[in-house]
């Protein structure tokens, strides 16, 4: 018995990836003299930032309060040269590997990182946004090698399990975070930190806040479910196909590098995640009763 033929327009479906190729022209910078050190530990991975500027150290300690580690031994460290450097965040971000070193550049920062040596430098003005961006990029690169990722998603812990609420800007990440009842521990309302953990995944708190403007709690739990948020006429959980889940997840994963090998790693991580973790669509009104569906 022959099967039904489908027209070529349905032979495949295409979705653009979130990453753009770009070119980078690097330059050199001598490392700064060690003066002040702040270790910022996100997802259990401490990154040491070293600066001569005491006011910038204070800025870091305030910005990342709750994520500043006094005991961790960082595997990665950066010398931060704080000065009158560019401040424009409009320029396209460029992330490229060259001779084993990652080169990161945007209008407001310039950075180089040698992942094997665990050392790098950052040149930026005294502001929290640039260092925030560099940390996101560095963690995304570290996670890609480990089977994890950063994803546009709110996340929260309830009864010892983590739930992710993913979607692009306007999908309701901050709204569902605001509606969370008191027994919920908020990990982030904007960017979730997902690490591979045995045969599953673990969501970790991040200091990367959205409109809620509140740092997540610095703790973690096994991921129970990933929900893709949609505004709808009622609170409802609906199924999603594996292909759609992968497509949406790839659209929401933060990945900046122009590097074919890492693209493959992130693709594999997204497929593994969808294979191991239940993924659903969650439509909500919004009102607080949506949390009755999350347990």
């Amino acid at each position: 018995m022959k099967q039904q033929w489908n027209r070529s327009s349905q032979l495949c479906r295409r979705a653009e990836g979130p990453w753009n190729a770009s070119k980078y022209e690097g330059n050199e910078l001598s490392p700064a003299i060690q003066t002040h050190e702040v270790a910022i530990e996100i997802g259990g991975i401490p990154v040491l930032l070293r600066t001569e500027d005491a006011s910038f150290r204070d800025l870091l300690e305030n910005r990342y309060a709750g994520f500043v580690s006094r005991t961790a031994r960082p595997k990665f460290e950066f010398d931060v040269d704080v000065g009158p450097h560019g401040a424009s965040t409009d320029e396209d971000l460029q992330v490229k590997i060259q001779a084993g070193k990652w080169l990161l550049r945007r209008g407001d920062f310039n950075s180089e990182w040698d992942p094997r040596a665990g050392k790098g430098w950052i040149r930026q003005s005294a502001n929290p946004y640039s260092i925030d961006s560099v940390l996101r990029i560095v963690h995304s690169l570290i996670l890609a090698r480990e089977g994890g990722f950063l994803v546009h998603s709110a996340s929260a812990i309830r009864t010892g399990r983590a739930f992710l609420f993913s979607g692009l800007s306007g999908a309701g990440k901050t709204t569902i975070s605001r509606l969370a009842p008191s027994d919920v521990t908020l990990l982030t309302d904007e960017i979730s930190y997902v690490r591979r953990d045995g045969e599953g995944y673990r969501a970790c708190g991040t200091p990367f806040a959205g409109e809620l403007a509140r740092l997540g709690e610095n703790c973690s739990a096994p991921v129970a479910t990933l929900f893709f948020l949609e505004q709808g006429p009622k609170n409802q959980i609906r199924p999603i196909s594996s292909a759609d889940a992968v497509r949406r997840l790839l659209r929401n994963i933060l990945f900046f590098a122009d590097d074919a090998e890492l693209v493959k790693l992130v693709f594999r991580s997204a497929l593994d995640f969808v294979t191991l973790v239940p993924v659903r669509r969650l439509t909500f009104l919004p009102d607080e009763r949506v949390w009755e569906l999350v347990d």
């Binding site: 489908n6 027209r7 295409r14 990836g17 292909a243 992968v246 693709f267």
Partner: protein, 104 residues
Amino acid sequence: MTERYIARSSAIAARMLGGEMMIMSAVDSTFFTLNEVATIIWQAADGHTSLAEIVEKVCREFEVEPDSARRDTEQFVDELSRHGILLISDEPIDNPSARPTEAL
């Protein structure tokens, strides 16, 4: 008419999940999901099986007119080749690097 051969590029990652073949180009991050017909074409793209033979295989397994199958298959192959996912040649493709990277 010139015979054509197709092979899967090494610059991609692919895996079957939930009954669908998923492919991502490592070059431009384009993501494709293939239906059953496209998956058969994809799996037959070994560099040595001609496009005509692949169309015959499709016709054996699906209820479709040969002309229609050929036209649709060529469109599909052309689209994936534009993204570097499939390689097309007038001669058999014997390059081991043309084998796909399965994202297992």
